[in-house]
């Protein structure tokens, strides 16, 4: 069982991470990436979630994902967008959590799969809501973007975690 001090530290760190994700979500919405193709986002918050999965454990990381989806939906408008963000976040978290438990899988690869699945969840839900399978081509493109951005955020998260381990010694 965790000491009270550890619990408090965990709560404080969680709050910090959620705030970070919200800011990153806002910043990435300002960047004009690929106009005309909706939904292309850098997914910077995924890097934070990866960090949470490895450093804070899966249950806490899940809570952080839900908090991020709800809060950024409320803050940045788009309660309807929240549905899609949740679908993407859920699918991505499931895969990232499962893969993080498999030995030998590198953090960057977990992040890549997370990014890919995030977009699969979002476009997948869109196809269900609009009752059209026509978005497949679009999904393929977003999957590639998700893989790439997942790699970038994975590299960041990996660097941070490696440095933290050095600092703790």
């Amino acid at each position: 069982m965790m000491t009270n001090r550890e619990k408090t530290q965990r709560i404080a760190l969680s709050g910090l991470l959620v705030a970070l994700m919200l800011v990153l979500g806002y910043v990435e919405s300002l960047l004009p990436v690929a106009a005309g193709i909706p939904g292309i986002k850098l997914g910077l918050s995924n890097g934070i979630l990866i960090f949470a999965v490895y450093m804070l454990g899966i249950p806490t990381a899940f809570v952080l994902m839900v908090l991020k989806v709800v809060l950024s939906g409320l803050m940045f408008g788009g309660v309807s967008a929240m549905m899609y963000a949740f679908a993407g976040g859920l699918l991505s978290m499931i895969f990232m959590c499962l893969l993080s438990r498999v030995k030998g899988v590198h953090v960057i690869v977990v992040s890549m799969v997370g990014g890919l699945m995030h977009n699969v969840g979002q476009v997948g839900l869109a196809m269900v809501m609009l009752a059209t399978p026509k978005l497949m081509y679009y999904m393929a493109i977003l999957m590639v973007v998700g893989l790439g951005c997942g790699a970038l955020t994975g590299i960041c998260a990996d660097s941070v975690m490696k440095h933290l381990k050095k600092m703790r010694r």
Binding site: A35, G36, I37, P38, G39, G77, G78, S80, A81, Y84, L99, V102, G104, V105, H106, V109, M112, V113, L116, A126, M129, L130, A131, T132, P133, K134, L135, M136, Y137, Y138, M139, A140, I141, M143, V144, L147
Partner: protein, 156 residues
């Protein structure tokens, strides 16, 4: 150890390729078209009675309306009851675009113009989608529309 990572990445790439192939191969048509007319466009005064080269197919909330022959230029609004969801569509004889929308992310407006020239080059193809309002606009050439109507009549 490295093998697992490689396998996972390869699996991801294979999945992407499969989805991509599905996207290229599938050109499904809407299942049913309701009998309702969404709106009528006044004929262009330059070429009355000309055969329309393109049609607009509008789907709102899962209901696909009668295809609109694009025989002139015009703008109309799709208002969904009292919800405040309003989409303004602009059409010309060979193109469509979302002129305005009350949705919060404005993706549909930014998706730009679908014209007969660009409909196969765009990422979203012949579609403009307003996700929050569940509105889909599709541009069909006259040939595609005739094929669509024929296949729907066969299915009945």
């Amino acid at each position: 150890m490295r093998n697992k990572n490689l396998w996972i990445i390869l699996a991801a790439v294979a999945l992407i390729a499969a989805v991509f192939a599905a996207g290229m191969l599938m050109k499904p048509a809407p299942g049913t078209i309701s009998n309702q007319q969404i709106v009528t466009i006044t004929q262009s005064p330059d070429a009355p009675d000309a055969e329309p080269e393109a049609y607009l197919l509008v789907t709102v909330g899962g209901v696909t309306y009668q295809p609109l022959p694009l025989s002139g230029e015009g703008e109309f609004s799709l208002t969904q009851g009292e919800s405040g969801m309003v989409n303004t569509v602009h059409v010309t004889p060979d193109s469509i675009w979302m002129a305005d929308s009350t949705c919060d992310n404005q993706d549909c407006v930014e998706q730009g113009i679908v014209s007969l020239a660009t409909m196969n080059d765009r990422v979203l193809g012949n579609m403009i989608i307003c996700l929050p309002h569940q509105v889909t606009l599709e541009l069909y050439t006259a040939e595609e529309m005739n094929a669509l109507i024929a296949s729907l009549e066969e299915a009945q």
